[in-house]
């Protein structure tokens, strides 16, 4: 009873709440880091150094008037934010935040579940999230959201191909689709996959930026061309859901990259006895630290790089990333067969 219902439910509650709190603080972090990059201070008024800003934002968004345009498709207009938020949250079911801890004399795994198609689950759930964006653009019955949503979905579909092809070479290395097994494979092969698969790492990082609609690939939200992107007609809490989904997806991408390439919860040099003291740091702390590095990197890139043009984005996806991904997969396969 306790093992089948209580513990999984507790884990789900904790992960969901931690994610939502994390997401709101990602917004604050983003504003702060970009402000520092532009020698400003960022939010300073609410709480010391603005640390209560997310609370103020949340209250503001919740009490704002919620407007549905008259000519909108009511059902789809309501469903679209939900459709983008739900996939962004259920992905966390398979992400391993750590190995095992003993709590109150019970071994508890620090992941909600470990299914043997974990990585495919992440990819397929992410691909369902596209509907939120397309339907938001369609249901708004307004030209800018429609254009933005067509852009966004074309971009997501294109980069999904490149990212999925690249992930296959990691699966070839690990010999499993389970997220936990992929981390264990990195322990057994004595090397993080970022060193064994540097090309795949870069490809997944670029693809991850594009799939989360982040700068320099944030064309669906290009203000000067599209007034605000696919959520132009949304206000209040429904707009907030799109916003939260985008940041939740960023955290997902960071976690997946950490799991696949940076050894997940493993400390650096996991097999070297001289570095055994690194195991005194709990596994979830390593995981959070590594994920945080990627989140910071995403913000840093946004503050640094200008936006791509749309044809450049498509050329990069189809004519550069996909050929490299296929070549990388072929080379990985040959090396893997020859070495084993």
């Amino acid at each position: 009873m306790v093992d089948t219902f209580v513990i999984p439910l507790l884990k789900i509650v904790i992960v969901l709440n931690a994610t939502l709190v994390g997401v709101t603080y990602m917004v604050l972090l983003e504003r702060k880091v970009i402000a520092w990059a532009q020698s400003r201070l960022g939010p300073m008024r609410v709480g010391p150094y603005g640390i209560l800003q997310p609370v103020a934002d949340a209250v503001k968004l919740m009490i704002k008037e919620d407007i549905t345009p008259v000519r909108a498709d009511k059902w789809l207009f309501t469903a679209a934010p939900i459709i983008s938020m739900v996939p962004a949250l259920i992905v966390y079911a398979v992400i391993p935040f750590g190995s095992e801890v003993s709590l109150f004399g019970r071994q508890v795994t620090l992941y909600i579940t470990d299914i043997n198609v974990g990585l495919l689950y992440v990819v397929s759930v992410a691909s369902v999230g596209v509907y939120g964006i397309i339907l938001a653009g369609y249901a708004s019955n307004s030209k800018y959201p429609l254009l933005a949503s067509l852009r966004a979905s074309a971009q997501l579909i294109s980069y999904e191909v490149a990212v999925t092809l690249t992930l296959v070479s990691v699966v070839v290395m690990a010999g499993s689709l389970s997220m936990v097994q992929i981390v264990n494979a990195q322990y057994n092969s004595h090397v993080w996959f970022v060193f064994a698969q540097p090309v795949a790492f870069v490809l997944v990082l670029i693809g991850g930026l594009a799939e989360t609609n982040r700068a320099p690939f944030d064309l669906p939200e290009a203000e000067q061309e599209l007034t605000g992107g696919f959520h132009t007609e949304y206000s209040g809490m429904r707009f907030a859901l799109f916003f939260l989904a985008e940041y939740a997806n960023m955290i997902v991408v960071s976690s997946v990259v950490t799991t696949l390439f940076l050894g997940g919860w493993l400390p650096p040099f996991p097999n070297v006895a001289a570095f055994g003291f690194l195991y005194y740091v709990p596994s979830w702390a390593w995981f959070l630290l590594k994920s945080f590095v990627f989140l910071y990197l995403f913000i840093w890139i946004r503050a640094t790089l200008p936006r791509y043009r749309y044809d450049q984005l498509m050329n990069l996806g189809w004519k550069v990333l996909i050929p490299i991904a296929i070549a990388n997969l072929v080379v990985t396969g040959i090396v893997r067969v020859l070495l084993l």
Binding site: N116, L120, S124, V125, A126, Y131, L177
Partner: protein, 169 residues
């Protein structure tokens, strides 16, 4: 018992959404119901223990192909004047004939399977365990030639689509 209950609930939802697909007034709503229908089919696979098939169902059908349907439905003008539609009753006979043929086919397959159960796959027992591994093993050993032919067909279809869409290359 639990499996049977799950099956009937999921099958019921599949039927409901399949009917909604053909009765929805707006084409975009049809496509959305189709996605939900595919998700329930994936749930059916998962309840049968075929988790690899379930995930592939979501990835390929719900996440891939239907997105392209949505593109077409959104970009093509479907608001034709009513006289452009053919009389809906014109194809009734053909529809009933096709449905009868389909039902007969399903009945034959089902009764055949009932009389003569499928040979146990243990004869070609894969040296691997796990759903994904076994699918891969069977595809690349017993079903290698059909698999390769299917991939050739898909390649030809892909090149054909590009040639048709791009008049000058």
């Amino acid at each position: 018992m639990g499996e049977a209950i799950a099956f009937y609930i999921i099958a019921g939802f599949i039927l409901i959404f399949a009917v909604l697909v053909v009765t929805a007034k707006e084409a975009v709503h049809s496509v959305v119901f189709l996605v939900i229908d595919f998700l329930f089919v994936a749930a059916l696979y998962a309840s049968l223990g075929a988790e690899f098939l379930a995930i592939i169902q979501i990835l390929v059908y719900a996440g891939g192909i239907v997105v392209l349907y949505l593109f077409v439905v959104m970009l093509v003008n479907l608001k034709r004047p009513p006289e452009a539609y053919a009389d809906p009753h014109r194809r009734t006979t053909l529809g009933f004939a096709l449905s009868a043929a389909m039902l007969l086919e399903i009945g034959v397959i089902a009764s055949y399977g009932y009389v003569k159960p499928a040979p146990a796959l243990a004869a070609v027992a894969a040296p691997v365990t796990g759903n994904t591994e076994e699918v891969g093993w069977l595809l690349y050993t017993s079903y290698l030639i059909p698999f390769e032919i299917a991939s050739m067909l898909l390649l030809v279809a892909m090149i054909g689509a590009i040639v048709l869409a791009k008049r000058e290359l």
